[in-house]
Every structure is written in structure tokens, then in C-alpha cells.
Symmetry: D2
Subunit: 319 residues, 4 copies
């Protein structure tokens, strides 16, 4: 409950936590506990709460805070990043303060739709940093597929140079590999800080991104132990082994990145793995047909077979 | 404080109320009072609170409720419609209950982005109506320029046929004149209810829409007395006189419909007319340059000149 | 047929010409002639051909060239700008060469959708200018409502500084008034060229834009004589008179800016005024219902009444 | 050169052909020949020309026709589908006639952006079918990620019921698996035709789609032999073997589906495999950095290793 503040040195897997509900749509705090423990058993290095995947927009303010507090209570020294994107600057400030007081290590802010041009992006974040002050570490969530806002590498560099509290890039532009390389190369300029880069997009390009200088992943894949093991293999310099393991899971990584239905699949897997009591999303949400479930069965059986035949079989049973 | 429930018979001008803040961004409840009284002096028939123009997305839940309560307290028998659009169905339900308990006459719901096809729209609203029950009157806000969701006339008709609580169409598709005519013609089918249609888009096509069968306006033009007078002239069958008056204000109607800067212009006018203590928007918001203000001066002087020369001069001083 | 090249000094009204078709959808070159003459009688200072409004995307390459040649043949010394936006750079080059050889004074290029960030815009136009060479004058069409590409003033200035062939900004961002002022202020920097700015958006903010430093209009309003007279009154320093005249036409300016239906309205007016033989658009296009036509009748009668009562009555009969 | 007409019975892999250019951007017709032969050696069952991936929008009309003629000349009895999407209906008609006369088996039409509601989609295609007549087989390209137009299953069914020339669905909505299943289930209704469904999206969900009833793939993956072998294994009822093979290629399938950079990767692979003389795209196009190429090297080496160790090693050398 006394995790350190998020810094440029953050590394590893910050799992984007699902938010569990009961079958009738109530926030299920007991499942928050079991899910937190599931993630810890998988070896995650940190948590990201109330992101887009966390159905944060369907929670009340009180519920949001309750989720943060509940995870903090069990996460020990693991850092917790809380999504605080909001249309109003004052709400971003308030949510950030509440999160930090509750024990978060930092906050994550995506740009609101409609920012225009490089200066529009810079100025918005300058406002954010001034409103939050120098003591709240901030993650820039670069997800233009949803926000419609493009982050030019130069703009990110201006922000890094001007605001010390900007410590991490949540990287999920698409195409994004060249941008990642570009940011890493820009950091070679004398005097520029190297920030942490964690990658999203469901992990679809995780090994390529690690080879290009990412520090880990921030995504919600339902087999977090893979994300962790791949990270650790890269940390040991065993890139090919890491990618071998990743490729075994790739059919499911790809299956989960499907728009709209992806979250239903993730929650179904978390439910099957015993991490949450119900796969239910709050309405309006997606759900799985019998056909979808049978298809998932097939994919999971194929995964288990490949894990077994490759000698990784014991690891799937993290729970 | 005991306004009736919104019904298909709603008519007139339901002003979309601005939300006043102090210069340092705090909710200014005293200005809510003075603004409410200003609107009442202008003769509005009802209020719409917490719409897109009302900066509702920058308020906390408590602030939103406080605004509703404050307006209800002064609005007498004028009906109040409260915007309750939200990503989560449960939040729509909760906000609607709070609004109705606070004295609202009905709620307004815009579709969330991403609904797909005619059935996607129908099914979302069917869910809404089931969640809210038959006793909360609902306005469909048809504003695809922002939501990206197209409402086909047939879908609206299916909803009207299936859900009695759908009593009003907030009409602001663009182009929208043909749709308005189409909906009115569809209502001639035996057994179909005629619903209220109030028009938005800043009132830019108000006379054309009234001639095509609209029942009034729901918009936030900063000279609400024009909206009211035009409505009353139409009600008396004096369409040409109504449009003559409208045309005098048209340069300012058009000026206020500018994206992004429009709200700054409206709040500036409300401020100049003494209705609110500060034209400030909550960050991030637009603001006016000295150039913008001088331009507004010119336009207002031109308005006053034309009002004077047309014999309407006395009416601008509603405050 | 020997018009000069377009330069930074371009001023006045460059009418965006409609493209006339016969009732069965064939290109109507005789109506191109009568329309050209109609525009000349209205006093336009130049022409813009094959713009978005000109249904250029529905023409074959041969038809496009035929339209340019036909207008050139009758336009005398009036300058002609030809829209050459295309997905492929080589096609832009080819179309530009064909247009210039046919007698155009310059070409207009809108950015393709998908350009990212300030550098994305700069680099695209740098490619264009390099492909076209220094001898083809170019107009930047800034219409983000359709292209989705934002032009930051700084980017425009970099382009103006680096490429002498960039001589004009077709200004139709919305909101755009502040950008226009910003560009004009940026030109006060020693050494920077002042470029021509013609305004679009159907002329909806024409007087405001002229007061802020625009050099005229490039739009397709179906009463071009108003655009010309307003320009000339501004040129004589009679801003208030100019705006008085504009305001008389504003109800129709506003009526024509309706998305989708706007072109149908313009062609109907041009047809009624005898400028073209058929109001037909090529499929898929919009068309007017009996209701729409009656509404237009009403608006035109109102216009004629106001023109008559203001002493401008004789001017409507430009044809 | 005398391929049959496209019908509901179409099955297998219709490769979306890249369009080869020389290093200086000229259309490279000799590479069209070698590429056609490469595809034939890979065993493709048909071709799709001038699709979005084929850079069709950067070709002149003459070039487009030349590409069709050149492929027809070598494709023997393989069916050829030609993309004819265009803003103007008359252009769709003309391009379709030219393609069919040149030897195409059918044409493919994507909806233009801006169609509204279920009826908007139905009516557009009804216009298309009427313009093309009953003798030109048509493929509906359902790719809302680019067009922004959603195709409801019911609308597709209405079109299938009403227009016999609609013989194929190019399926690439995302999420799309449920829609595919829904269309197949709808076909069980007595009297409804079963149409061919070929899947796109780079093949990312190819095995899942085959299991759900797809008839094959229409995509441009640079190892078409995999697409063919997977199809053939499914045809033999060996779904698990098919998916085993697919999974070996999945890292590259996924790599190629990257927006913007994907085509550069495909052309690079086709170039390395000797199918085309240059990987160049026409400007403006994407290109690969040294970093990108090294990354591709790594992925290809990994592919070759996995193919070898799985006993498929010999098959990569299709050329």
C-alpha cells in the first residue's frame, strides 16, 4: 500500500485490469480482490486501472475510487496507474488527486478528441501539467485510433523537455513501430530524458516493440503470465525465446484484439480462469454467443496443446 | 417547482441554458439564478439543462444535480428537460431518476457513438426505455454531427410506436429539413402518435422548420426573446412577420453557430446582457480575443440599428 | 484565353462553377458556355473549376479537360483556377500540366485525408511543390470539414516561406475567423510574403472575413452578383454598406450551405435564372422535392421583396 | 482469357494483386506479368485487381485498363474481379463495362462514404445494380473501417433477394465473425440464395472465418501459397491441420496488417521473392527504413525455421 511514485524507470508488465461486475451489473468488489490476486500470481509488475478497457466510463465517481482503493489494498509494492482522462480539466485534477491520495503511483491521460495540430496537443498537455503540478507523475496515452489525436514525436519531445512529471509513453499508435524507434532515437540528444515506454494494442506487436526499445507492456491480455515471461526473457537478452513463447499465444492475442467483442472475450477467459465471478459487462456491452464460446474453446485447446508440446504446458495454470 | 411531465404536446422555446462559472472556474450558482430569471423574462416556455452546450461534461455529478435543483427552484411551472446521455446505461438510469426527483419534466438522451445500422439505434433506445420505465418522458436528441449516429425516420417511427415515453424529437440533423417533413408525414398513418419536435442547430433554419411542422426551438441563442417572438408569431399564423423578425437576428444566429467559438460568443452576450457574472468557460474552453469582441460589437450595433429601424427596437432590452 | 498567372495579388470573386449536365446525365457543354457567360455578367473576377462543388469526381478525365477548355475559351482575361486534388502525386502533376496547357492560371490542391501532424501536412505540400515545379501557381484549399486535415498557421507560413509558387489560401476552416487574422498578423514579419486569401464556406462569414483581411471570395453562391458587389463595396471602404447588402442575401446564403442538399439548391437557382438547361446532378446526387422547391420559392420572393424595398431591386436580374 | 462469369459458387483464394511500379514510379507491365505468374504458381483460384491495396486510385484510367488486360492475358481460366468503386455512378458503369469487355468475371463495389442508414445502403446498391444491369456479377465489399458505411445483415439479405447479380460478399467488417455467422444462418431461410463469402482483413481471422462458413479468402498476403493450402485443407475437412499451418504464418499475417506500412511490407516481400522488379509505391506512399527491413528479415527467418521444423519447409519456395 506504499508503492513508490511512477518514474522514467518503470519496466515490465502493467496489466490493464478489467472491472468485474455481478451478473446483474453491480460492481463486484470481491472479484476485484480475486482478480488482483490473479494478476499478482501471474507476476505483473504493476496495474493500470480505469482505462478504456476497464469500463471506467460506466462507473460512478464513487465506484471508480472504490476500485482504486481495493486494488491498492492488495497490490503491495506494485505500482498502480489510474486513468483520469476527462473532458474537463478540473475533473482531471480532482480525479488525479483522489487517485494519488488513494495510493496510486501515477495517472494516465489521453487527449480529448478535437485537439488541432501540433500546438493543440502541446498546449492541452501543458495545461494538464500545470493543473496537476510537478508531483503527480503522468503517462501520455497515445491511442489515436480512439481519440483521433495524432502525437508527433517532436511534440512528445517538447513535452518531455518541458515537463519533468511526464515519465511514460503508453504507446499504441498504429502504425506505431516507426514512432517508437523515432522516440528512442530522439532520446540520444544530449540532455533529453529517456522515458519509459509501455506498449498496448493488445500486445499484437509486443516482441517487435521490445526489440525496438520498449520497456514492457500495458495491456489487458487475459493470459498475463505470457506478457510477464516475454518481458523477462527480453530482460535476459533472450529475444528469440521470448518471441517463440509469444507466438504460441499469438492466435489468442489476435483473437482478443477484435474491436467491440474483445472485452467480452477477455472477461470470459478471466471468468474461466477463476479470476472473476461473472464475465458480465455493464450495459451497453458486448456478449458472446454459443458460437463465440465454442470458437474460444477451440482456440484455448489449441493453445494448451502447443504449450504442452513446447514444454510450457505447466505455466498456463497460473491460477 | 411542480411542473408537469413532458408530453407530445410540448410547444414553444425550451432554452438550452448555459452553465455559468466564476472567473476562476467554480460553478456560479448565483448566476444560475440570474440566468434563469433572464430566460424567464425573455419568455421561454421551458428549459433544457446539461446539454452539450451546458458544459455538462465538465461538471461533477454533485454540481450537475445542484444546477438542476437551482433552476427548478425558480422556473415555476416551466418544464425542465435534463440531458442524461452517458456511456453506461446504469448511469443514464441513475441520472434520470435524480433529475426527475429534483423536479425535471423529462430527460434527453443522445445516442452514444458507435451504434451500427438501424437496428443498432433501435436496440439502444429500447434498452434505454426499458431501463427508465414508462414514467420518465424521453427526448431523442438527433445530432449526428457530433454523435456520428444517423437516425432513420423509420427507426424513429418504430420507437414512437413501441414506447409511449418517447414524446419529443430534438431535431438537429443536417441536412434535416426533409427528415422533419418526412416524420410529420409519417405521423399521418392511422394510429401513430404525433410527437413534439423542437429544433436545434442554433436556430439556423428555424423559420423553415416551423413552416414544416416544428413545434418550437430548443437551442441556446443568446437573444432568446427572438426565439420566443418568432414562435408566437408562427402560433398566430403570421409566418412572414415571424421570418422578418428572424432575419434581423440571422447575422447573429449565424455568428453563434460557429463551431468551438460559438459558446464563447453566447456567454459573452449573456454576460453583456447582465445575465451572468462572468463569460468564463471551464477549461479546456474557447475564449474571445480583442478582435473577436470588437467584431461582436459591430454585429450587435448592426442588430440594434436594424431592430430600431424596423420598430422592434424596444424588445432587445429584455433584461 | 490568355489570362495571366495567378499571383499573391489575386482579389475579388473567383466563382466556383457548377458543372452542368443534361437531364440524362451527360456533360452539357452548351450550358458550360451559358453558365460562363452568366458568371461574367455577374461580374466575377475569376473562376474555380472542378472543385468539390463542381462534381469533378463524377467526371472522366476527358470530360474534366473539356470543361476547362470550354470555360477558358469564353473567360477572356479572367483567371481560372482548376482543382487538381488527387490521391496520387503523379496524377496531380499530370492534371496540373493539362490544366495549365489548357489555359488555367493556377491550380488548387486540398490535402488528402490521413496526413498526420504538422510535418505530415508540410511534407505533403513540399512533395506537391517539387512535383509541380516553380512555374505553376498553387492554391492551398484549407477545408478540414471534408479532408479531416488541420492546417496550423505555422505550417502555412513555413510553406509560404519555402515555396514561392504558393500564392493563395482558400480559407474555409471552421471556426476560421481567428486563423484568418492569425495568418494576416504573421505576414507582418519582415521578409514574409503576403498571400491572397479567398474565403469559402458558401460565403457564410464573408463580411467578417473581409473585415479581417480577406481579398475576396471563392465560393459558388447562386447570386454571384452579391459576392461581387460586396467585394467592390469593401474595396471602396464601405464596409457597412457591403454588410447591409450581404445581410439581405444571408437567408439564401445560409439556405445554400446545407450539407448534401446545398448543390441541388444552387443548381435549381442557376436553372431558374437561365444559366443552365437542367438542374440535374450526376448520380448519386441530391434532388429537390416539391416541398423543397416551394420553400425555395418563398425564400426567393422574400429576397426580391427586400431587394426592392432597399433599392437594390434591379440588380437581381443580372441575366 | 475466357474465364467464366463470377457466381455464387466462387471458392478459394482470389488474391488481391499488388500493382508494380518501376523505381521511378512508372507502371511496370512486365512485373505485372511476373507477378501474375507468381500468383499462379502459388495456386490462387482467382485475382482481384484495382482494389484499395492495388493503388488503383493512383492510376490513370488507361493504366487501370492496361493492368486488367495484362493479367487477363496470362490468367487462363482463373476468374478476375475488378474493383470499380467510384464517386460517380456513371463512372462505375463505364469502368465495369470496360473491365468485363477486357475479360473480367465480375466487379467489386464498395459503398461511398456518407451513405445514411439501412435504406441509404440499400438504395445505393439498387442504383448500382440497375445501372450495371443483370449481366455483370457484383461483389459487395464490406469494409467499414475505410468507408465508414455499416452493412446490416438484413440489408445484405434484401439486396441478395432483390438482385441476382449480387453473388459475393467480400467480408471485412471488424468485428465481423458474428456477421459472417449471421449471414450464413439467414441463408437457411427457404428461397434465399447462398452467396459466396470471401474474407479480407489481411487474413487475420481466416481459420475462424472458414470454420464459420467462408468460402475462401480475398486478400493480398505476400505468401499466397499459405492462403491456398489453408483453403485446400479446409476443403478436405482438415480444419486443425489448416489452422496449424496458418498459425505458422500468423506472425507475418499480423505484421502485414499494420495500417499504412502494410503495403510497403507486402511489396518488399514480393520483391524479395522475385515476383516484381521494385517494391516502390507510387507517391505518396509508405516506404521501409533499414530498421523495418531488418525486422522483416528476422520475421522471415523465424518463419522459415518454423516451416522447416514443421515439415512445410519446402513449400515457401513457391517461386
Amino acid at each position: 500500500m506504499s508503492a513508490s511514485k511512477l518514474s522514467e524507470n518503470a519496466k515490465g508488465v502493467y496489466i490493464i485490469a478489467a472491472t468485474p461486475f455481478t451478473d446483474d451489473g453491480a460492481l463486484d468488489l470481491q472479484s476485484v480482490d480475486t482478480l488482483t490476486e490473479f494478476y499478482l500470481r501471474c507476476g505483473v509488475h504493476g496495474f493500470t486501472l480505469l482505462g478504456m478497457m476497464g469500463e471506467a466510463h460506466k462507473l460512478t465517481a464513487d465506484e471508480s475510487l472504490a476500485v482504486v482503493q481495493r486494488v491498492v489494498a492488495r497490490a503491495g509494492d506494485r505500482q498502480i496507474i489510474v486513468g483520469v482522462s476527462h473532458a474537463g480539466l478540473e475533473n482531471v485534477r480532482r480525479l488525479s488527486h483522489e487517485a494519488m491520495i488513494a495510493g496510486a503511483s501515477g495517472v494516465m491521460v489521453a487527449p480529448p478528441p478535437g485537439l488541432k495540430g501540433d500546438d493543440g496537443v502541446y498546449n492541452y498537455y501543458a495545461q494538464i501539467f500545470q493543473a496537476l503540478g510537478p508531483d503527480i507523475p503522468v503517462v501520455y496515452q497515445d491511442y489515436p485510433q480512439t481519440t483521433g489525436v495524432y502525437l508527433a514525436p517532436q511534440v512528445f519531445e517538447r513535452l518531455v523537455d518541458d515537463f519533468k512529471q511526464l515519465v511514460m509513453l503508453k504507446h499504441e499508435d498504429a502504425p506505431g513501430l516507426a514512432k517508437l524507434t523515432r522516440v528512442r532515437e530522439g532520446e540520444k540528444k544530449p540532455g533529453r530524458r529517456r522515458v519509459s515506454i509501455l506498449v498496448g494494442n493488445g500486445g499484437l506487436y509486443y516482441p517487435q516493440e521490445m526489440r525496438r526499445g520498449a520497456d514492457g507492456a500495458m495491456t489487458g491480455f487475459a493470459w498475463p503470465e505470457m506478457l510477464v515471461q516475454v518481458y523477462e526473457l527480453f530482460a535476459k537478452g533472450e529475444a528469440e525465446k521470448a518471441e517463440d513463447l509469444f507466438d504460441i499465444y499469438l492466435p489468442l492475442v489476435r483473437h482478443e484484439v477484435q474491436p467491440a467483442i474483445g472485452l467480452a472475450l477477455r472477461k470470459e477467459v478471466l471468468f474461466r480462469r477463476g479470476a472473476i465471478k461473472s464475465p458480465k459487462q455493464r450495459a451497453p456491452g458486448s456478449s458472446l454467443t454459443a458460437h463465440d464460446k465454442a470458437e474460444l474453446d477451440t482456440l484455448i485447446k489449441r493453445l494448451e496443446r502447443r504449450l504442452a508440446s513446447s514444454g510450457h504446458g505447466n505455466k498456463v495454470a497460473a491460477e
